[in-house]
Subunit: 132 residues, 6 copies
């Protein structure tokens, strides 16, 4: 029962700090496969035949149907950074909802709550790709 | 590590409020696919060839094997409302556990904790179908 | 692209023989955990607080949302054996479809095709619980 | 071990016929939830804030990470119809592969084989949205 | 957005107590299938042709790709108990990451945080197999 | 209903040829993310703190719980190559079965059938790591 309740802007900040600290910790580890995977993850969302916004929308819908809250809020923030509108985000949500089913609904609620707080300026967008 | 700890009846109430508030927020959005999906979700559990209790047990076992805590506690509450006994709920849990495997166990613990609190009157049952 | 095409009644018979042969092979192996799991799987669908038909409908919806064709056709046959009507099966399909999303549709097509053949007498129902 | 082997253009045609026949069969059934779900599925991919090509790419990546071969080949064909280039499809594949992991690789092989046959004209594109 | 933040050693202790209490509660229930499943779960990790450490690493990678935080931290602790080194754990993480994809990353961060706290002595290892 | 029937040794050979041909086709494509992912996949199973057999057993159990037949048969062959005994493979199967549940059973039947054919010499082991 992990909701996105009133007053958890502190939790968002704590979570962002936790993610950065643990990413650094993981990348300092002498495991080359893990480090290369993180580099590949960053490379995946670089512009190419598809622009960054489209790629981030793809990352968002994949995260929705696989139902990972951290990945969803990460990609919502990246989509906003890349210029996606609220309507574009909701159409992406609708694809995730129809493909993935009602089991996606609790994650959709938290995604919309996160988006609302981003638009109010309560949640700081990420400044660089930092791995889901 | 999201457990159902002592003293989180407040979290249950916060969660219920969060769910209602976000459902209203989502349904106010001009995205017809999302709104129709929510309507269809409600229609799914109406009585038909199968009664409401059986349909809610089906929703519960589907939520268990897909491992969504919010959906599980929602359907546990709906099953109770529809008259399911503790033994019927545990037999439904057992199908979910055997089909879905030991990965279901942490969700089963939280489901039983939620059921215990419902039976003690600590957790308010939902008054209407409000989407997983 | 594994469909349920015209003319694959032979495939159904081959599949049934394959399942029986492999179940015997697996149970002859000196691995007690696997053998106990198979025994537990059989016990799960015995009548209790819930009757056999309800339990098989639970097994069916769990198989649908987890998208396992073999398990789905197995439980469709068991549900028919236990007296489930076509309308009850379709309501169970509808719960699986709404909870699991459009990704369930290809499995639904094969489930309905299998049900049609069962009702025409083309596909032999299983004579005993033989493990998904 | 269901591969996309040489000489299974017949299987593609059989599969397409099977899909159409079963969709008609399912929609003829008096289950309103299932019928409404199919209508909603069609509506999801209509142009809106996002164009059809982007929506079909979203459907494709969701199908990839959920690993449904029928859905993947369906959306590959729809993406081609909507004007997606081979490079755009491969970038969508790359997002699906990185988000979903190496478990996606067997499905990627079948997706590329299907795309190759589409580009050679061996596999007929679908003429209308017909549900995954 | 359930992270493993600074200061949640209390949450770890609460979670451990919750797990033990709920396991006892579940095993006290007159449902034989559930009780037998728990016994079988314990038996699965007993030494045999494979030693305990290898079996716990198998349980860990299965939990990683199925993305269950409680199961992951449980098996990390069991692996440590069975003598797995940090490098062996990271190689197991790397298999889980490559097979399961970037969707595993948030769980990896929490796994490494849990491992760090175990190594600092902040998190008590489990004294016996207590079911995921 | 994709079983591993009598007489499908031809299908195994066709499948192996298909896999090799499509891997070459995919690696010839100018998509660096996909190519790097394939290289990383190979690197993951190189000996390190854990030996090759243990890593392949990890890959096998991950494939079992994620229920990918191609990946399962691939890793069964790799495990045999690396010296895993039938008992070790069955203990790995038992972990996958208990963690993943009865939904794994159809895949277990096909895995044991593939192992039987490998041991009879009917199915050629793979000569190098070629990506699941």
């Amino acid at each position: 029962m992990n909701g996105g309740h009133e007053g958890d802007d502190d939790r968002v900040r704590q979570f962002t700090e936790f993610r950065q600290r643990m990413n650094e910790r993981i990348l300092a580890e002498p495991n080359q496969v893990v480090r290369r995977f993180f580099a590949l993850d960053t490379q995946t969302y670089q512009p190419g035949a598809l622009d960054v916004k489209t790629k981030e929308l793809l990352g968002l819908v994949a995260s929705l149907v696989l139902r990972c809250d951290d990945c969803i809020s990460y990609h919502v923030a990246q989509c906003k950074e890349a210029g996606a509108s609220r309507d574009e985000l909701f159409e992406t949500f609708s694809v995730g909802l129809v493909v993935g089913g009602s089991i996606v609904i609790p994650h959709l609620r938290r995604a919309v709550d996160f988006l609302d707080r981003l638009e109010r300026g309560d949640a700081a967008p990420h400044s660089a790709h930092d791995h889901g």
